[in-house]
Symmetry: C2
């Protein structure tokens, strides 16, 4: 069973899907463009996927162990510089501004908004920014340390400024990530094992998926070269599924960063070499919505094996 009518064009399919998600309390509209709340069933499914991912993390735990850490959706603006995000993906980032004025400045702000103006341009940079990928705060936290192949299990909220009529594309969404820092071999092995286990989980949930090489959306003209290089070196794989027939959407990704973060944050292995890193991430809302597209909006009617995998029965 699929909710999609394959004869509609892509934009119509996206609108139809969004309408179904909203009518069935899966997506809750907010006042933010591209920002959605989740209803009870959608949230249960998100939590079920995260729990299944934690089971994989326990099964694949290396000798050095697995550590579960938690970072909030906000970090220092400086993190966007240190990870090269402002250089590579300026179109996606979000920084935070705050009001630091007095009574007089506040009166000005209020009169602007009473006149229907945009008062938020009056604020000052707060030194805070939204986190675009849940593994970024980890590298800053580990800065200057020796790494040993431990896997870090992270779940958190990301912000990427790309409002879209496609309900599969959230401006703010949760990601489960398993990150390993260590030797090149440890990073490779991590990426390979998780890509296989992640694909298996998504298939066990009834999704038709396929892994393929991919590239991040590097900005601008120079970015085109970076994208081509990333794809050619097979640094990024995505797990894709066709929520809209003929138009695959990525619902998970597996990345080798080579020395990128090791160098930026002075991370090294016991032999003094720059650490390599790799991560695997599930886009939790995207997986949940792909499951709704596949199995329908009524979770109670989903196949028993899928419900069991998600801890829902």
């Amino acid at each position: 069973m699929t909710i999609m009518d394959t004869h509609q064009d892509l934009a119509t399919q996206q609108d139809t899907f969004r309408a179904g998600l909203e009518a069935n309390d899966w997506l809750l509209p907010t006042l933010g463009d591209g920002v959605n709340g989740l209803g009870p069933q959608a949230e249960d499914v998100v939590q079920g996927i995260a729990a299944a991912a934690r089971r994989i993390a326990a099964e694949l735990s290396p000798e050095a162990g697995t550590r579960r850490l938690r970072f909030p959706p906000v970090n220092g603006t400086r993190l966007l510089e240190r990870t090269d995000y402002v250089a590579s993906f300026p179109q996606l980032l979000g920084t935070i501004s705050a009001f630091e004025g007095d009574n007089k400045a506040h009166r000005k702000l209020l009169s602007m908004y009473e006149d229907g103006g945009d008062w938020s341009g009056e604020l000052s940079p707060a030194g805070h920014a939204l986190v675009p990928a849940v593994c970024h705060p980890l590298y800053a936290y580990l800065e200057g340390s020796q790494v040993d192949g431990t896997v870090f299990e992270l779940m958190g909220e990301c912000y990427r400024h790309e409002p879209s009529p496609d309900p599969m594309r959230f401006v703010t969404f949760r990601m489960f990530e398993a990150v390993r820092l260590g030797t090149p071999q440890e990073a490779d092995e991590h990426r390979e094992k998780w890509l296989a286990a992640g694909t298996d989980l998504l298939r066990a949930l009834g999704l038709t998926v396929e892994a393929d090489t991919a590239n991040d959306p590097f900005f601008g003209r120079a970015g085109k070269l970076l994208s081509a290089g990333q794809r050619e070196a097979q640094l990024k794989f995505e797990i894709l599924t066709e929520v809209y027939p003929g138009h695959p959407t990525a619902i998970a990704s597996a990345n080798l960063h080579e020395e990128h973060f090791g160098e930026a944050f002075d991370l090294h292995t016991a032999d003094g070499a720059v650490a390599h890193s790799a991560c695997f991430g599930f886009g939790l809302e995207r997986v949940a919505l792909a499951l709704a597209a596949k199995h329908g909006f009524d979770v109670a009617a989903w196949p028993a094996s899928v419900r069991q995998e998600l801890g829902l029965s």
Copy 2:
């Protein structure tokens, strides 16, 4: 047992507590001022408190039922206007800016940051803002509807721009909230029941707590009047505990909003009257840290009854 030395002054006590939290992996430093990650034990305790709160929600569920919804940490900037937050608490809000320039604007941005300048002032308001209280997105979601005394169970992340050396004060933190919208009687009853049940839970966790009237930190000269009025009308109660002896910290609050949100978002009851609302919230990180101050940093050594209440044994 308490970790605090009562002979130190407050600032020293805060520094000592922070040092202990960091040394024991309870708080993980980030690049953001006042922003902390959580280590595995702290996160387990946060999840345990949230689970205990959900049990209370199930026990106190009214005839109209309880609905669990989930809103992300970001919403439209317009939400800050509609809730009166920009008028009442401008000093705490955070809005989001994004980069919408071309290659040339990007080169300027990069040269600013290579020169060590603050490039984030070059960005444009994105129409998005951080959510300061997890119940605010709910009112916007319900806009224009009839409410019937249903309780809404929410857990989410808040941002309040008040960096502080006190580890109990997070710029970004999670809140569990139980919100009820309905008649004045339904709102009153909700606040009363949750204030009692929340106090009981915190006592069962071994904390010495006390409920007291309080006020929100309304901005500026005019705000002083609002604060006094709120306190006099007993609209806000806080549950306080002394992490620092002699200096109570709020770890939960119970609020009557009267018609404030009902009026702002056109919410009404079956008889056509403007809906009243009330909410009860636990500051999850604050409760977790208060427990660490009380029972120590090693959760395995906490009293069996506390571990059981948190689902940790």
